[in-house]
């Protein structure tokens, strides 16, 4: 390499750096004091991305601190640590000196999307970026060694590296990454970077501790809702509670003299916000504000009307899409020795993140900045620019830690648009918008409602010869991402867990199979909700398979195994939980077991639940054995945490989760009528992490899907009662 080439490279790098524009980089753990300090410089500072960067992913400082850039959002799922492990594995750096930072979506745009996707959903964090982040680490390692070799004037092939220390083997000389980082930053990246063979991994696969725990233990972690800056005002908002309704009028004279109130503003065409010194003052005034709504065409919408719509779809041929088909299911059903039929219903559910929606925005005619929790910084930036009425280059979004995401803060940035719309009416003044819990419950993007009629054909020997699965209900994509729909108008997400192949393939071989969807779209906004459609589809297929096994007089494990010869990885996780739980052996007195297995988000998961139901019908979930094969397990202890947490999310949904619709609005308003499970209800969870290698599967969502069906099948074993409507809180498990 010639010096000239290095210089050219360096110039290009400098041009790129200055093109980053102005703004703040908030890092990942921002104490309150420094957030105020950042605000105090009035946004005029240069981007605070750390230097010197060896490449877009890796910064090494003189004291050997390694800063790994993370594009996806950390929201509890541990991706931040997992992604850092992937980079550090190839980088061969000292893990004890690794820290992380977020680039902003504006910086990503300015650098031709060098960090690729910021989207954090679909359990994609690791599996969607493992290759290019590892490559980022490998390239940086190459450049750092090359820099050392150049300094020593030796062949870089004679140099080795471990824990950030580079050694020239023949002479025994050593240096550290920190010593050569500045020079490495001027190197050309190599044309090719070889990734390690998985058998040589030292850090990937290790249960290392999370990088983001300390500040979560003492209140220092700044969540979006904790963010503050000088002269910031606070806003509380109310949108028309009826879906599709509009704001007609409000009378701000009633509240404008209340303590702290600055302004009452219309927000878009459907909401009104009070801006005050503090949020408590803003919300107090908002509650006293007389508001008139134009409730629009959905004013009489009810859950009963939606149910009728879905019932019609169960046997209709209108607007029906086929998701998976083989053989001749009609013929199989006609010639069946025994036909089994059941209809299930799965309700609307809210994400109910612990931290309600919020965003802080500052708008001037030249610039718009937003500080917010988001699962997708780029989508937040687009929303901000749209609401600001400014070119996207004049906007930026600074990601602040999320108090839960679960899909609510990925595809939807309604709260960002509102914050900008409010800030636009107070130019130059930063405004933090926070939704009340009640607003959060009223304006979710809900887990969609579906019903499902399943019809199975058993032959004389009780083999499953045919299965028709008719889903009737709401499509998420039709409402949220129409551009992702199939060319015939089908919504592939509806068929998660029923697909012929791919990330969400069915785990059974059925000789005659038809899975179809009567699309029925009520005017309630649907959304991606941690796990998405696999949550209800797993109940449908896994509970119905249990029903079929029962009708066939067969053991549910053996009945499943017979259909799984062509699905060895699904079978392996099922066998693992059966064995660990002691399936086939007697359980404790009064305790009964249930199974479930799915492939989803490219991972294979299974669960065996152990429950008892007492004479009063009280359910006690004692233990769940869960197995996961995600291909590669980057951090097994974080996978365990996700699996355990998935049972809380999945079982809360099963036990309590329903948003009912009356008069065009959601009835449930807070945790008193939309409960989430508590520690006293939490079963023991035995987690089996069994990575079989060769593929990359998701972690954050798959296990949620097996939580409900495993418990429901155990409830049947305990009571002889099939539950096909949810949540369980509405159902008597034993007749009085």
């Amino acid at each position: 390499m010639t010096k000239e080439r290095i210089n050219v490279s360096r110039r290009e790098f400098l041009v790129k750096s200055t093109a980053l524009g102005t703004g703040f980089s908030l890092g990942l753990s921002l104490p309150l004091a420094s957030s105020a300090a950042l605000g105090a410089d009035d946004g005029a500072s240069a981007s605070a991305l750390s230097e010197p960067e060896v490449n877009a992913w890796v910064v090494v400082q003189q004291d050997d601190t390694v800063i790994i850039r993370i594009a996806r959002s950390e929201m509890g799922q541990g991706t931040l640590t997992g992604l850092a492990q992937l980079v550090a594995e190839e980088l061969e750096c000292d893990w004890s000196k690794v820290t992380t930072e977020y680039p902003t979506p504006g910086q990503n745009l300015a650098r031709d999307k060098v960090w690729r996707s910021f989207s954090t959903g679909g359990s994609q964090g690791i599996r969607g970026s493992h290759d290019y982040v590892r490559k980022g680490g490998a390239v940086a390692r190459h450049m750092l060694i090359e820099a050392a070799a150049e300094q020593w004037d030796v062949d870089m092939g004679e140099c080795t590296v471990a824990d950030s220390i580079i050694t020239h083997e023949p002479s025994g000389r050593t240096t550290s990454y920190g010593q050569v980082a500045a020079l490495a930053a001027e190197m050309f990246p190599p044309e090719h970077a070889e990734l390690k063979d998985p058998k040589d991994w030292k850090l990937i696969g290790q249960p290392v501790k999370r990088l983001d725990t300390d500040d979560k233990l003492n209140g220092k972690q700044v969540f979006g809702f904790d963010f503050t800056m000088p002269d910031m005002l606070n806003a509380a908002i109310k949108a028309c509670p009826v879906f599709g309704g509009k704001l007609k009028s409000f009378d701000d004279r009633k509240v404008s003299k209340m303590p702290g109130v600055h302004k009452v503003v219309a927000v878009n065409d459907d909401a009104v916000a009070v801006v005050a010194d503090t949020w408590w003052q803003a919300n107090t005034a908002l509650k006293a504000l007389p508001i008139t709504w134009d409730e629009g065409p959905n004013a009489k919408l009810s859950s009963a009307a939606i149910d009728e719509m879905l019932d019609e779809g169960l046997s209709s041929s209108d607007n029906v899409f086929v998701g998976n088909q083989n053989g001749d299911v009609d013929k199989a059903l006609k010639t069946a020795a025994n036909k089994v039929e059941a209809t299930y219903r799965y309700p609307y559910q809210n994400h109910a993140t612990m931290e309600p929606m919020n965003a802080t925005a500052r708008w001037t005619k030249d610039k718009c900045e937003v500080w917010c929790p988001t699962q997708n910084g780029e989508a937040a930036l687009e929303a901000a620019a749209e609401a600001a009425g400014l070119p996207i280059e004049q906007c930026d979004v600074y990601k602040i830690h999320l108090g839960g995401g679960f899909g609510r803060r990925g595809a939807f940035h309604d709260y960002v648009k509102q914050a900008v719309a409010i800030a636009k009416q107070l130019p130059g003044t930063p405004v933090k918008l926070l939704w009340s819990r009640e607003e959060d419950m009223a304006h979710g993007h809900y887990h969609p409602i579906t019903k499902c009629k399943l019809t199975g054909a058993l032959d004389d020997e009780s083999n499953l010869t045919g299965l028709h699965v008719r889903i009737s209900g709401q499509s998420i994509l039709a409402s949220v991402r129409p551009e992702w729909m199939a060319s015939n108008g089908a919504d592939p997400v509806t068929f998660q867990g029923f697909q012929a192949d791919g990330d969400h393939a069915i785990s059974y071989t059925v000789p005659n199979l038809l899975v179809d969807h009567a699309m029925r779209n009520p005017p309630v906004p649907p959304g991606f909700w941690r796990g998405v459609n696999i949550n209800q589809n797993a109940i449908y297929i896994e509970c119905f398979i249990d029903e079929l096994a029962h009708a066939a007089g067969k053991d549910p494990l053996e009945f499943r195994r017979k259909l799984m010869a062509d699905h060895p990885k699904s079978l392996a996780v099922l066998d693992a939980v059966a064995e660990k739980a002691g399936w086939g052996k007697p359980a404790a007195e009064g305790v009964h077991r249930g199974l479930a297995v799915v492939k989803t988000f490219a991972s294979y998961v299974a669960a065996c639940a152990e429950v008892s139901v007492n004479a009063d019908g009280k359910l006690n979930i004692h233990r769940i054995v869960a197995a996961t094969d995600p291909g590669y397990a980057v951090n097994p202890q974080q996978i365990e945490a996700q699996v355990e947490g998935s049972f809380v999310f999945g079982l809360s949904a099963l036990l309590y989760g329903e948003c009912t619709i009356e008069d065009g609005a959601v009835v449930e308003s807070n945790f008193h009528d939309y409960p989430s499970m508590l520690i006293e209800e939490m079963p023991k969870v035995d987690v089996i992490v069994m990575p079989s290698g060769g593929f990359w599967g998701g972690i954050g969502e798959p296990t949620i899907a097996v939580a409900a069906p495993a418990v429901l099948n155990a409830v049947f074993a305990a009571t002889g009662k099939r539950i096909r409507q949810f949540p369980l809180a509405n159902i008597k498990l034993r007749e009085a």
Binding site: G76, L217, G219, M354, R437, A641, V648, I679, E680, M682
Partner: protein
């Protein structure tokens, strides 16, 4: 002016007495470790200690407090993340998103004050905080580990005293 004692320090605040303690901590005093989530005393995210007892600060109007009462928030639980619960939480990687964890830790800390070696049933009865990420099993293990850490520290102190 309403006078209070927060984390051992006297403070005077000019605010409407009906304002809940939660919002005074957050918006007047900048102690944002105490979180809002439900505002109706159910979820426990806003748990603080008042005279050592766990209290849901969203339900405590400021006018109900006086300057003789000790209010402790997560920021005042320990000097350097060294409360046995914080040590245990760190050792077990308890938090996921972390939003509910200050309240969770404050609930657990009040329990340990009352019952230094709580049973699982004690934990069920006292730690009634909502966590949507689902950290419950590590929270439970964390409380039991904190008991061991406390006992270890105590044994060590006793040992030093004896020597």
């Amino acid at each position: 002016m309403i006078k209070l004692k927060i984390n051992g320090k006297p403070v005077a605040i000019d605010v409407d007495g009906s304002t809940p303690l939660l919002w005074v901590l957050r918006e007047q005093l900048g102690l944002t470790g105490t979180k809002y989530s439900c505002g109706i005393g159910l979820c426990g995210s806003c748990t603080v200690h008042i005279d050592g007892e766990a209290a849901r600060s969203c339900m405590v109007p400021l006018s109900s407090l006086d300057a003789s009462q000790e209010v402790t928030t997560i920021e005042g639980l320990s000097a350097d993340n060294n409360h046995p619960l914080q040590q245990a939480w760190k050792q077990l990687d308890v938090p996921q998103c972390g939003y509910c964890q200050p309240g969770m830790i404050m609930s657990a800390a009040a329990l340990l004050k009352d019952k230094p070696d709580p049973s699982d049933t004690d934990i069920d009865a006292s730690v009634t905080n909502i966590c949507r990420c689902g950290t419950f099993n590590r929270v439970r293990s964390g409380i039991h580990l904190a008991v061991q850490i406390s006992k270890g520290a105590k044994d060590q102190n006793n040992g030093e005293d004896a020597s």
